[in-house]
Symmetry: C2
Subunit: 229 residues, 2 copies
């Protein structure tokens, strides 16, 4: 068995990435970040997913990115958009993926993991710059130079098995690999009971994908966006 | 005036990088990380340096890297080497620079800074992989793809003005730019009063450089390494 660090947000994509890593024979170490996100319930979801899929260890690291601000996900004074936005939306968190991957790199090095799995994808996503294949390629080039392990010849592979998949393909893959999507959450503004708003960008993508697949999404919504066809 | 985020550890190199950024006309935003380092006194030094050199703001971000371990700087059960070691020493902190640069990237983006200054150098250093010019080049390539700002055409420049300088050259440059080195600290294992051990790798490099320059180093040492010629 090889070891993999898996970035786990509690959403559908990272849960599927974890299931893929397991299916590929990895001992999985799940990493979540308590970064001051307004949808903190995702950490509860991440715990359930990690337990359900049987990770070796699940770390939740505290790093308050609201120190830097600049995102509706970490700044409660900014509203979450409920309609599609042009360009990169305000839910983009500055440098978040770069920071999270760097943390995963640190853990990978100390436990001698050979890979880092992430559920990022560049198809049904919100247009974030740090979800693109060219970003991942540059990150791999950096990681090949960045650590003692890599200098000693032990490569740490970035694995993004969902990067070219649509949301419906991700759900299908996740189901095939044993993900229980009722334990995941996608909403950017879950309420204190973990209920999803049903109207944010992330809810919209989720609801549409389940509808397209004609599969029931059993998580609880406050309301469902009427613009979803 | 352009804005710059400056990674500030409290040591000689980052203090000099800050002074250079100021001399180059930047409004400086200093960033330090409380990462569980055993030489936590360096954060006190960083505060003094930031105040002395007149930054616009100094943030100290909490991120406990002892969660990951793997370094004598974050794991008190490992000893700090007092003799030169072959290869990359145990004071190397996995992915530390990659994490710190990522945090600087986040702040740079939110305040619209045009540059990130770091005091890393590849001459009189401890052989860390994430201090080499090729690492910085790869990091710049990544940063050019990583953020909303860069996608919109606003480059964030990595500035490493000390990368090719020896320790004596750094001290000379810092003095010319107004650094008060008595406010800096270099030791990996300062005691609770902020006194330097005088025998670790980092103390050795510092003591030798001051000696070579025939300048008095006025910080307090517990003892000075007798192997310094």
């Amino acid at each position: 068995m090889t070891k993999a660090v898996v970035l786990l947000s509690g959403g559908m994509d990272s849960a599927t990435a974890l299931a893929v890593a397991k299916a590929e024979g990895c001992d999985c170490y799940a990493l979540s970040v308590d970064y001051g996100q307004r949808h903190k319930y995702e950490l509860t979801a991440a715990k359930m997913v990690a337990e359900d899929l049987g990770v070796i260890e699940h770390k939740i690291i505290a790093l308050d990115l609201s120190n830097f601000g600049g995102s509706a996900l970490t700044d409660q004074s900014l509203s979450i958009p409920v309609e599609e936005t042009i360009g990169i939306p305000i839910t983009y968190v500055p440098a978040r993926n770069t920071i999270f991957f760097s943390l995963a790199l640190a853990w990978s090095e100390t436990i001698e993991a050979e890979s880092i799995y992430s559920g990022i994808n560049a198809i049904d996503y919100s247009g974030y710059p740090d979800c693109r294949p060219e970003y991942i390629a540059a990150l791999q080039d950096l990681f090949d130079l960045a650590t003692k392990k890599t200098v000693e010849g032990h490569k740490i592979h970035l694995e993004t098995p969902l990067i070219d998949l649509t949301k419906t393909e991700i759900i299908s893959l996740g189901r095939a690999k044993g993900v229980d999507f009722s334990k995941t959450v996608s909403c950017y503004q879950t309420d204190e009971d973990g209920r999803s708003c049903g109207i944010c960008d992330s809810c919209r993508l989720r609801i549409k994908a389940f509808k397209d697949l004609q599969i029931e999404d059993t998580i609880e919504y406050i309301k469902r966006n009427s613009i979803i066809k």
